[in-house]
């Protein structure tokens, strides 16, 4: 398991006060009893941990822990790509 997956699972485990080894990539939010408010609070923690900004409307499509990990990876990669792009000339 890569670092993004490990860190994401730690955040979810802390938010729900459950052991990390009970959470896997295919674990659903329903199984973890994570409601929409939990999702929002987790999203704030994830944003801080990875220095990313999650679009407000993105949370509705997240159903599993793997969805979170994939979403974070995409945002981290997009941020890295934006950071390495040549500066625009003015």
């Amino acid at each position: 398991m890569d670092d993004i997956a490990k860190r994401s699972i730690e955040i979810i485990a802390k938010a729900k006060n459950i052991p990390t080894d009970t959470i896997h990539l295919d674990t659903t939010f329903e199984e973890l009893n994570i409601d929409s408010l939990d999702k929002i609070n987790i999203s704030f923690e994830v944003e801080e941990a990875f220095s990313i900004e999650i679009p407000d409307e993105a949370l509705g499509s997240l159903k599993t822990v793997g969805d979170v990990v994939n979403g974070v990876k995409q945002l981290v990669e997009a941020k890295a790509a934006a950071g390495s792009a040549p500066a625009a000339t003015s």
């Binding site: 409601d35 929409s36 408010l37 999702k39 929002i40 704030f44 949370l59």
Partner: protein
């Protein structure tokens, strides 16, 4: 007795959800530890657009209950009149044909009530019977159809009119940044709906148009007073909205529906469509899950939620209008119209097309 028609009416101002979110965030962010909570909650409550009685910039000036309630009275009468005229036009009847008016709202109060003020505007009979209903909240759309149907069951040669006007934007509370209030302000919209119920011996019913109301069922859930409702405070109506609402729905709806159908010698297999109140994503998901419905079974309810938000009592009537116009059932098929609301309680209406 039959549902003869539905007419809906919406205020002129319509905004996308992000625009409403930004407006309220601008008003409240100095009072919030994490203002992004508001925009993120708003973005995830299944609502794309809502109508409001006033332009968003006018709301900060409505800073007392007196101001909001007076605004509610004026706007409720105007919007109610539009909804009634549309419903009467669809049914091809006149105000003087109406024997009884049931008026439901939970977003403002007045005496004389809004229905009385409308009798001064439209040529209803001076002998029309009035039943204003306050406090049923979201369940009042379904319950109103039930009570109006009870009336025409007793007086089969008459028409009854149900009017629901809900101006939820006038209940926004500036000094409440609780999760419940943020969800409520993100979910509820403004709108009105009127329904004409035709007694079985009326000219309309004799034309065999519109779904028949076969039976109704009210179910009260004891000791659930804090699941949903209002606390009445100096500034108006402060929302009571428990996170347990979906759980209460899941625990009760299936039993209510199966018991109701069994008493009418039917089963869930006999029901072709479910016309459900657009309570919110969690409530609609709980309804689907409870009854084991496929994902698209409540599509018109989800659509109404996206397009106008939760209109409280008027929502299920707006969904009913959509069924009458766009998705009417095949002759002989059955539908259940349902809503739940403060008490907590449910109201089920068995229809046959």
């Amino acid at each position: 007795m039959r549902i003869a028609s539905v007419g809906t009416a919406y205020p002129p101002h319509r905004y996308s959800q992000p625009v409403i979110a930004e407006a309220l965030r601008g008003r409240w962010e100095h009072k919030m530890e994490e203002p992004r909570l508001l925009t993120r909650l708003f973005a995830n409550c299944g609502v794309d657009f809502r109508h409001t009685v006033f332009p968003l910039e006018n709301y900060p000036a409505l800073d007392t209950f007196e101001k909001t309630n007076n605004a509610w009275i004026k706007a409720a009468v105007d919007l109610g009149q539009q909804a009634i005229c549309r419903a009467l036009d669809h049914a091809e009847i006149s105000p003087e044909d109406i024997g009884a008016i049931f008026f439901a709202s939970v977003t403002g109060i007045s005496s004389p009530t809004v229905d009385a003020r409308l009798i001064n505007r439209l040529p209803f009979s001076v002998n029309v019977k009035r039943t204003p209903i306050f406090g049923l909240g979201c369940v009042a759309g379904a319950a109103g159809i039930s009570r109006a149907s009870d009336y025409v069951r007793a007086f089969p040669d008459q028409y009854a009119l149900l009017l629901s006007v809900e101006l939820c934007s006038l209940t926004w509370q500036d000094d409440d940044q609780s999760i419940a209030n943020l969800i409520s302000c993100g979910l509820f919209g403004d709108g009105a709906a009127a329904v004409v119920i035709a007694g079985s011996e009326t000219p309309f019913a004799k034309r065999n148009k519109g779904p028949r109301v076969l039976a109704t069922r009210s179910t009260f859930y004891r000791n659930t007073e804090r699941v949903m409702g209002w606390d009445i405070v100096n500034t108006g109506f402060r929302i009571v909205l428990s996170p347990d609402v979906p759980k209460v729905v899941e625990e009760n709806l299936l039993g209510n529906v199966e018991g109701f159908l069994a008493d009418n010698n039917l089963t869930r297999d006999d029901i072709s469509t479910y016309i459900f109140h657009s309570g919110g994503p969690k409530v609609l998901e709980a309804m689907q899950k409870s009854l084991g419905l496929p994902a698209d079974a409540l599509a018109p309810s989800w659509k109404s939620l996206r397009e106008v938000g939760n209109l409280s009592a008027a929502s299920v009537l707006a969904v009913l209008e959509d069924y009458l116009k766009v998705h009417p059932g095949k002759p002989g098929t059955y539908s259940i119209l349902a809503a739940m609301g403060p008490a907590f309680c449910s109201e089920l209406v068995l229809l046959q097309w």
